[in-house]
Amino acid sequence: MSATLSVEKLSVSYANGTERIEAVRSLSFDVAPGECLGIVGESGSGKTQLLMAAMGLLAGNAVIDGSVRFEGEELITRDSAELNRIRGAKVSMVFQDPMTSLTPHLKIGIQLAEVLVCHAAMSWRDAWAAAERTLGRVHISEPRRRLNQYPHELSGGMRQRVMIGMGLLCGPSLLIADEPTSALDVTVQAQIIELLRGLRSEMGMALILVSHDLGVVAGLADRILVMYAGRAVECAATQVLLQQPRHPYTAGLLKCIPSLDGPRVERLATLPGQPPQPGERLEACAFAPRCPRAAERCRIERPQLLGSSTGSVACHFPLTS
């Protein structure tokens, strides 16, 4: 069965005068149908840019290289009109800031129904009814009343549910969630993750979950892709990654998560140093300055992403169990 989403050597850079700022560098990964892929990385790692590239939402001065194929169709070369058939219908995206991601002057019902009116050629009446059902699906109480409300009348958690509902309306094969919980309280975060889990098993769609928080991703993803400085540094099945991380960066991330049943620590572990700025040119391993295992080779030669049966890693001296 062909992959739902297939990214091959994707590079996204921005021209800024004479400089080129590289946000994503030669990234490759696949998402199988019905699979949940978690993408983890710090801010500046390029994870949002790669999503924007896939959805055709990049700014005008972006330069894209490589290929993004959805169900076999190449997305990069398409113009807006063609992309519009796919966006919102077969591939949906949920953004991280529910407070600002909904149009303030339109009723919730309109923002939901318009997706169906546009993509499924439904009448407004039918679309409105479908929207009400979707609100119920995402566990919003009193859906009929909510349809006639404006975004500012809903809480952050409810708005995020509405966003997720908006993404589900046309029964997409792929739902992309970019930091869906980052702007929400911890308790609400858990609810949203639960919602996504339930919807996934109910609808069987593929899910890409992007976050800087490994804990959020670990609860839901089948596989995890770790990004650093625009590149993939490790990719493996979730349990494998959590128990036997092979890239020093992944190991470092895991150490940063405080655990309730580990030894009591004096200080929370952090990763020393800063990730590189998007504009920096890197010939060698980007993580070398911060890596406790870095050797001479790491500062000269960039490690390639090498696969094995358990997963792939881009490191000259990967950790072994």
Binding site: N84, R87, S101, L102, T103, L106, E114, V115, C118
Partner: protein
């Protein structure tokens, strides 16, 4: 929302009242009287005229009479156009000026807003620069220069349109004055819309709209336009003021019998009641416009209605 409108109305009426009172007393307190420019009249005739116009009464009584007659829509007699009352003059001229002003305002909006939107969508292109440069020219050059130029071009050289004069129901006579009046607000509205649209297009909710696969037209018309128009709504009252100001000159040049021309004549002739009446009408118009704009804000942004 109805309550919101009522509170705004409640503060508008006193404002108008203050304006009426202030102008009335200022006028009476001014040095010289309305008959100063006539040839010297004998004291008896002066006294008779004063009595006829009620100028010999104590000032409070005059004020009271004025307000009372205002309530009946009577602005008093014109001091210079002896056969007419101010009310009659206003009734004659107002429809002309209103027609002129309303069409100009509508023109400014229906050309300015799309122009600004177009410029924003083609940001930094040649078309954008061209449009904004044209807008700058429109803003900088006054209507009393534009109208004669247009008249020269279209009337004298190209013979497309009549240069001056007025016939009822004749659009071609009004065409050039309307364009000259509409040009500065049009240009300003185009600039405002462009800047505001550019900002709105950067919003997160516009990104969401595009991600939903909505066509560009829908994103602009349904999602982007209303928030982008808020600065334009703020500009509406100054725009009307600008059109009112422009109409003074445009009516004079084009020979249109509107109230703008009366105001200018009244000023040159020191016709007190006429000018007083005009000032009141114009002020009432502006205040009314302000109320409409407040309502418009509430429609543009639902969050305002909560207050």
């Amino acid at each position: 929302m109805f309550r919101y409108f009522l509170t705004r109305l409640a503060s508008a009426i006193p404002t108008l009242f203050i304006i009426i009172t202030a102008t009335f007393f200022l006028m009476r307190a001014a040095p010289g009287g309305p008959f100063d420019q006539e040839q010297t009249l004998s004291p008896e005739i002066m006294a008779n005229m004063q009595a006829a116009y009620g100028l010999d009464q104590p000032i409070w009584k005059q004020y009271g009479r004025y307000i009372a007659s205002l309530a009946h829509g009577d602005f008093g007699p014109s001091f210079k156009y002896k056969d007419f009352t101010v009310t009659e003059l206003i009734a004659q001229g107002f429809p002309v000026t209103l027609e002129l002003g309303v069409i100009a305002m509508v023109l400014a909006l229906i050309v300015g807003i799309p122009l600004g939107t177009f410029a924003a969508l083609h940001h930094n292109s040649a078309a954008d620069y061209a449009a904004m440069s044209a807008a700058l020219v429109g803003i900088a050059i006054p209507s009393f220069v534009v109208l004669p130029f247009l008249g020269l071009l279209f009337g004298v050289y190209l013979h497309w349109l009549p240069v001056s004069g007025w016939e009822p129901r004749s659009l071609s006579h009004l065409a050039l004055p309307i364009i000259a009046l509409a040009l500065p607000p049009l240009a300003y509205i185009a600039r405002l819309t462009r800047g505001s649209m550019l900002e709105v297009l950067r919003s997160h909710y516009i990104r969401t709209a595009f991600a939903k696969g909505l066509p560009l037209r829908t994103v602009i018309l349904r999602h982007a336009l209303r928030p982008a128009l808020t600065p334009v709504a703020s500009y509406l009252v100054p725009a009307v003021a600008s059109i009112m100001t422009g109409s003074l000159v445009v009516e004079s040049i084009a020979g249109l019998p509107g109230i703008g021309r009366f105001l200018v004549q009244g000023a040159l002739n020191r016709d007190y009641t006429l000018v007083l009446g005009m000032v009141i009408i114009y002020s009432a118009l502006l205040i009314g416009m302000g109320l409409l704009v407040d309502l418009l804000y509430a429609w543009l942004d639902p969050r305002v209605r909560v207050r």
